[in-house]
């Protein structure tokens, strides 16, 4: 067994009775808490800068709300696919798991492509991060979010590729890992909902 920790560490697979969580799930919730603080600091920066500004663009006019809305649907769908993939995995239906997980990854790429189209539209209107405080925040916050999407794509791809080897060692262990990846994915999805409301609609 190549996992260096497997002999030592309890609660990798089953949950500890008194906390009700296995280690990785505990860890990912803590990680997500820190992510809330990271994006929270940027949202607070947005509030402070907007409240203190002399002029603020009408966001829905310089933003492509249609693409933003489509992207929200795209990400929400990918979250649903993730749940279906996980359910399929728990039911031991590996073909279905792979199908839905591929859809998750495909939709993530669709999201990034649409995001790229939006960026391209902004650049072709000579709208850059330095153009205004709003655009700076827009590019920073959506850019940071896009990095999270890319990280998610990497993790999710791993679990329909080389990561599947773990399933041969222990099925439940693998299901746990996919669940943890799913929690992260839902969080990234949720951040986008806040970003869309704040940066496009308000």
């Amino acid at each position: 067994m190549e996992h260096p920790t497997e002999e030592f560490i309890p609660y990798i697979i089953e949950s500890r009775p008194d906390t009700g969580l296995y280690n990785a799930k505990f860890g990912i919730w803590l990680f997500l808490a820190s992510e809330v603080m990271l994006f929270g600091s940027l949202f607070s920066a947005y509030i402070l800068l907007r409240v203190g500004s002399f002029s603020w663009p009408v966001q829905s006019e310089i933003q492509n709300v249609a693409i933003g809305a489509i992207n929200s649907v795209v990400l929400l769908s990918s979250s649903i696919f993730f749940i279906r993939a996980w359910v399929a995995l728990k039911a031991d239906d590996i073909a279905k798991y792979k199908k839905f997980m591929s859809l998750v990854i495909l939709f993530a790429f669709v999201f990034l492509t649409l995001k790229g189209v939006e960026y391209y539209q902004h650049f072709s209107h000579h709208e850059y991060p330095k153009t205004s405080v709003f655009l700076g925040l827009y590019f920073l916050m959506t850019g940071l979010h896009a990095l999270h999407i890319i990280g998610g794509i990497a993790v999710n791809s791993f679990y329909i590729g080389p990561g599947l080897k773990l399933r041969e060692i222990n099925k439940q262990w693998f299901i746990n890992r996919v669940e943890v990846a799913g929690l992260y994915w839902h969080f990234v999805d949720l951040v986008w909902i806040f970003l869309f409301s704040t940066l496009y609609l308000l």
């Binding site: 030592f8 309890p10 402070l48 330095k130």
Partner: protein, 582 residues
């Protein structure tokens, strides 16, 4: 299921030299790697200060002998340039806080002791732990290497206030990138520690039975987990300002060198201060709590009695953790906040002093009636109490706006927080090194060298920091390149600069016995003949010396509270936590 084969065949685990000592996932090895690195960074940060003290005591005079080593760009003819002084100041603060004291208190002792004290075989995520260490190493080396950039290292103070740092030279960019890497490292460590404490406790180790050190590390971890990300967000914002020309922190109509600065404007410099201090204040408790945890262990052990009011201490440290998130703006009274906000932060600041005082008081009261053993760890721990208390008390005037405003930009502030961190926290950390050294090496550190380290350190630290309080009350401004000689009203107190500098250099000499002792004792120290040389009760002493991979040689069950010393009817004056009969 993993539970079935957790207990077996770890003795046969063969590992190469590289994976045992360098790329190790073992929490003890990682802790010791952190120890060497953070002590090295502490020394680097301290040396920067020793250089600055020359300039402050003898402004404009060439530094003899070594002055020429720093190059014409920094110290032409051995005379320090103001730009170089500013770099030294900024990097002293950054290195001491983020690369020295925090890793020493949190990462070193946390890594080494958390699994041992809760009865676990390793951290919950050992590979993540290794990644934390290596990213910390990368971030730290990047930070220090920024001295070799064309414009030198960052020079805007450890707080990197905008807009100055927005328009500073490239050293600031490297500072931000290094900080982002270090933040990732501490973030991963902290979630690892929390998961370990919650999920990997041995059977019978309830939260009530956790030693105070574990409680302190737990709260510290939560502070790091939740307070550091906003600084990462702030670092991204400032990086955008510097690299992509945004104006998050640059107001409209900013003048630089008499000319209007070319930026789109519309930003707010105060935003940086708030994001920074939202980290910065919990960070203060990140510095203090591990040292408090260490001192508590040592005091219980060397008074041979239970900590008085241990449950109250536990409640205090939790309360302190929560409250530390709502006091940050007492660092920004000078920015002219409204009176309502000032009143709020004054109130929370006064409230947060209550749990701190409770913790210190319980430790003092514990001394009462104890049969105190004055060994080296205990001496450091005993010195910690009044020094840290003094540091805390000198902070009270800074928590109230009316007294903070005249004092804030003076040496009084420097004296105050150095009393907390240097004679306070660092003495506590030294105590920890002396206390757990026998567990890690199987040998004790030498007592005579220990005394040669302790007494000069304690005395010279007070000669360094107490005069700063006097100077500050007399109005000497901080961050003065010439030590305040520019202003005639300072001339009566400038002689203190010479006193402080000589005390600082004596303090440096006083560290030589420690460094020698540390390395000498690893190989030649007096051997300990027991796994529990101090007669302690907590679980780390139930391991072999030094603990091997997997820590415990037998399954651990916990039967009692952490500080079960001198129980009535017990055959010895200590009853280890894992021992069924007292």
């Amino acid at each position: 299921m993993s539970g079935a084969h957790t207990e077996e065949h770890h003795d046969t685990h063969q590992q190469s030299w590289w994976s045992t000592y360098v790329f190790s996932t073992d929490h003890k090895t990682i802790g010791i790697q952190y120890l060497f690195l953070s002590l090295f960074f502490l020394l680097v940060g301290f040396c920067l200060m020793l250089l600055m003290r020359w300039q402050l005591a003898y402004p404009g005079q060439p530094l003899p002998i070594i002055g020429k080593w720093f190059g014409e760009a920094n110290m032409p003819g051995g005379v320090m340039l103001p730009q170089f002084y500013n770099q030294l100041g900024a990097m002293h603060g950054t290195i001491m806080v983020f690369l020295g004291v925090v890793p020493l208190g949190f990462a070193v002792f946390g890594n080494y002791l958390i699994p041992l004290q809760i009865g676990a075989k390793d951290m919950a995520f050992p590979r993540l732990n290794m990644f934390s260490y290596w990213s910390f190493l990368a971030g730290g080396l990047l930070m220090v290497s920024s001295f070799f950039l064309p414009g030198g290292a960052a020079s805007n103070g450890w707080t990197s206030y905008s807009p100055l740092s927005d328009i500073a030279h490239d050293g600031q960019t490297v500072w931000l990138i290094s900080m982002a890497i270090i933040i990732v490292s501490s973030l991963l460590s902290s979630l690892n520690f929390i998961t370990t404490i919650f999920n990997l406790r041995a059977p019978g180790m309830t939260f009530e039975r956790l030693p105070f050190f574990i409680w302190a590390q737990l709260i510290t971890s939560f502070l790091l987990l939740l307070a550091f990300p906003p600084l990462e967000g702030a670092a991204f914002l400032q990086l955008f300002d510097r690299l992509l020309g945004t104006s998050f922190f640059l107001p409209t109509g900013l003048f630089v060198n008499g000319q209007i600065y070319n930026a789109s404007g519309g930003g707010n410099p105060l935003l940086w201060q708030h994001l920074f201090w939202f980290l910065g204040h919990p960070e203060v408790y990140v510095l203090i709590l591990p040292a408090l945890g260490i001192v508590t262990e040592i005091i219980a052990n060397n008074t041979r009695k239970n900590i008085v009011g241990f449950p109250i201490m536990r409640a205090s440290v939790i309360f302190l953790g929560f409250l530390s998130f709502v006091v940050w703006s007492h660092h920004t009274y000078l920015t002219g906040m409204g009176t309502d906000i000032t009143a709020f932060f004054q109130t929370t600041t006064m409230i947060i002093s209550i749990p701190s005082v409770i913790i210190i008081s319980t430790l003092f009261i514990t001394l009462w009636g104890g049969s105190i053993r004055f060994n080296m760890p205990m001496l450091f721990a005993l010195a910690f109490l009044p020094m840290f208390g003094f540091g805390g008390l000198t902070g009270l005037p800074l928590g109230l706006a009316a007294t903070d405003i005249p004092l804030h930009d003076t040496y009084y502030v420097i004296g105050h927080f150095h009393y907390v961190v240097a004679p306070g926290v660092i003495l506590g950390l030294f105590a920890g090194i002396y206390y757990w050294f026998p567990k890690a090496t199987g040998r004790k550190m030498n007592d005579i060298l220990g005394h040669l380290h302790f007494w000069p350190t304690l005395i010279s630290m007070n000669f360094v920091f107490f005069p700063m309080l006097i100077q500050g009350l007399m109005g000497l401004n901080r961050r003065m390149y010439d030590g305040g000689a520019t202003y005639s009203f300072n001339h009566d107190i400038l002689y203190w600069n010479v006193v402080i500098s000589w005390a600082a250099w004596i303090l440096a000499l006083a560290q030589i016995p420690f460094i020698f002792n540390f390395f000498y004792s690893i190989f030649n120290g007096e051997k300990v003949h027991s796994d529990n040389p101090w007669g302690a009760t907590t679980l780390e002493w139930a391991t072999p010396t030094p603990p091997g991979h997997g820590n415990f040689t037998k399954p651990i069950t916990v039967y009692r509270d952490p500080y079960s010393y001198s129980l009535p009817g017990a055959p010895r004056d200590f009853s280890p936590q894992d021992q069924k009969e007292i």
